[in-house]
Assembly symmetry: C2
Homo-oligomer: 403 residues x 2
Amino acid sequence: MRRLRLSQRAISTPSSPIRKLAFFAQQAEQRGVNILRLNIGQPDIPTPPEFFNSMKKFNNAVLEYGSSEGDVEIRREWSKYIKRVNNLDIPPEHFQITVGASEALIFAFMTCCDPGDEVIVFDPTYANYIGFAAISGVNLVPVRCELDSNFKLPEVAEIEKHISNRTRAILLCSPNNPTGTVYSDNDLKLLLEICEENNIFLVVDETYREIVFDDRPFYSIFNVAPSNERVIVVDSLSKRFSLCGARLGCLITSNNDVRKAILNIAQARLAPPTVEQFAAAEMLSILGAEQIEKTKKTYQVRRQALFESYREISGVSLLPSMGAFYSMVELPIEDATDFCRFMLTDFVYNGKTIFFAPGDGFFIESGRGKNMVRVAYVLEPELLIESANLLDLGLKSYRKNYI
Amino acid sequence: MRRLRLSQRAISTPSSPIRKLAFFAQQAEQRGVNILRLNIGQPDIPTPPEFFNSMKKFNNAVLEYGSSEGDVEIRREWSKYIKRVNNLDIPPEHFQITVGASEALIFAFMTCCDPGDEVIVFDPTYANYIGFAAISGVNLVPVRCELDSNFKLPEVAEIEKHISNRTRAILLCSPNNPTGTVYSDNDLKLLLEICEENNIFLVVDETYREIVFDDRPFYSIFNVAPSNERVIVVDSLSKRFSLCGARLGCLITSNNDVRKAILNIAQARLAPPTVEQFAAAEMLSILGAEQIEKTKKTYQVRRQALFESYREISGVSLLPSMGAFYSMVELPIEDATDFCRFMLTDFVYNGKTIFFAPGDGFFIESGRGKNMVRVAYVLEPELLIESANLLDLGLKSYRKNYI
């Protein structure tokens, strides 16, 4: 048979750096190795029982399609939740419920950009943005951020240098995946000014909104600009409620044209899952600031355990992350993908090893991040401290045998 | 503020003909009107209790992400189900679980086509294909099918006329939405030959696979070509198990390159919903041919009720549909969208009205289908007979007042 041609966009969609070594992890587990999984932002904190309790109450005879824009109840309760916890007034009509934040980002790319258009992102960036851009034909234009400054935003002039006549949006993730950086209200104002100046969209991924440490206040872009038509917020229940598997996110904007265009796309894919929306709506009506405060404190303790144990390892560099539950960590090696694979295929200590996500998959600029890993601190502090020991031993073994 | 520009693809994504009049239906319901909803393929047959029972057994503490390719259990049970019910040997590894058949179709478009590439479809076509094509930049090339012949496939030469050097696939929905046409094994063979000849993919949407009437055997494309690398099958649990709201579909192909490329896209969007996969896997392990047989018979009785009551209405044309649960119906009017809106805004009889999907939204060729509606016979026979009466009265009232 003549070889069937696949599309260029399919061929150019990279495999996820978070998941591409999963096969080696499976094999290690089959050998009986206990893997500390720090590769993926999969919290180990229990999902609120309110979610499961509500799910069990679903008793319609037919599991029907929901509304394409998301069901009335979840849009209303999410809006009230944001009022209660973030003191922001966002009407339910401004919400488009999506299958995870992933779908919200795909919708944003599809709606703001045609193939060949550009979106400014800060590099390193959430790896899956690269996949969303590939399938929607969008060129991500990276603006460099550096570990030395804890990945703070560069000067306005530096950002503006990257804007062309194909630029349609700036995309910011705050608190940031993969760096843990939290941007200030001033950062947000400056970015919005650049967007105003250039008549482009500002898309802010606030998936980790409330997870900010050290009593730092968190500013949503909606605090800065409550009803600016160029602002699109992406949100998700996955992380703050340990609800990754529910696949519930949303896109919020006061821009009617954007919501209307997105609704047409949303209608084509029909609706988000029904039972999850039902259960999440009730959960959101019950939970409030106390629950989030607890989650935040849990991650802050872990952040500290990670930072303090990893900084002691010879040749390892990191700064304390400010929010979310990620840290980019520099290692004294040249090829972190090779090292991460080594830890899964060749290393074991007391029956255990560690699984990190190789750093270069989070950089758009080629050649960067090769000596870095992204660590998701989604495990108990004592396991993080244990992972530091495994990393130390692993680095020694790897450098002795492979360098 | 200067007006922000939306993408061309967003602007060109049509609203769904199935859902675009939903607002008028809501308003009618608020006035207390009882609407017979024949616009949407939302079965009223109860979801198998096995699904809900299994869902209630989910008791992980954390609702974690599933695998990007779909969880092991659902892939295994879906494969076994197809063996049991369709006597086809499809290994679990050939399944990519998706968020509804919708996502499977988007993945297929993204993987087979770059923007500007073409896919041959038979016109009328499932309206949402038009949306998927718009967002993925694919040009759907319509090949005419006619109501007079119950929308049978045209001659091979006629189909081949539409193939260009940008054609990447033929997409067939069988049993067909919106026409109810079921294609024979010979039809499938001929299409596959055309695809072989032109080295393109054959994508078959078998969402309604088992719902075929009059003891007609149903041939899956896998019966014709069990392991042909150019064949991609799209499947779904939504219709045959009344599980629309679970959002579980799949894409099946023996083509490793296709599955590998799709997995990269699938990783970017992370995973399908976890609890649904868990519940559906158990349900699939229990249900078999008897359950499907019952569902099929239920729809066959409805098909008959629809056909016999609608054919009696003056000026109305339809043929008995062969499968799925749709019929394209020709009405003695010029603008079915206007008539469908009229039925929601101005018509009521004994407190009731009907909601149809306007036909032109299912045609790619401009100007066709304007005097048609798509009827989804997802209600009890007596309600379908009642809908015929409402249609008769509605047509009389509309024609008296508006023509």
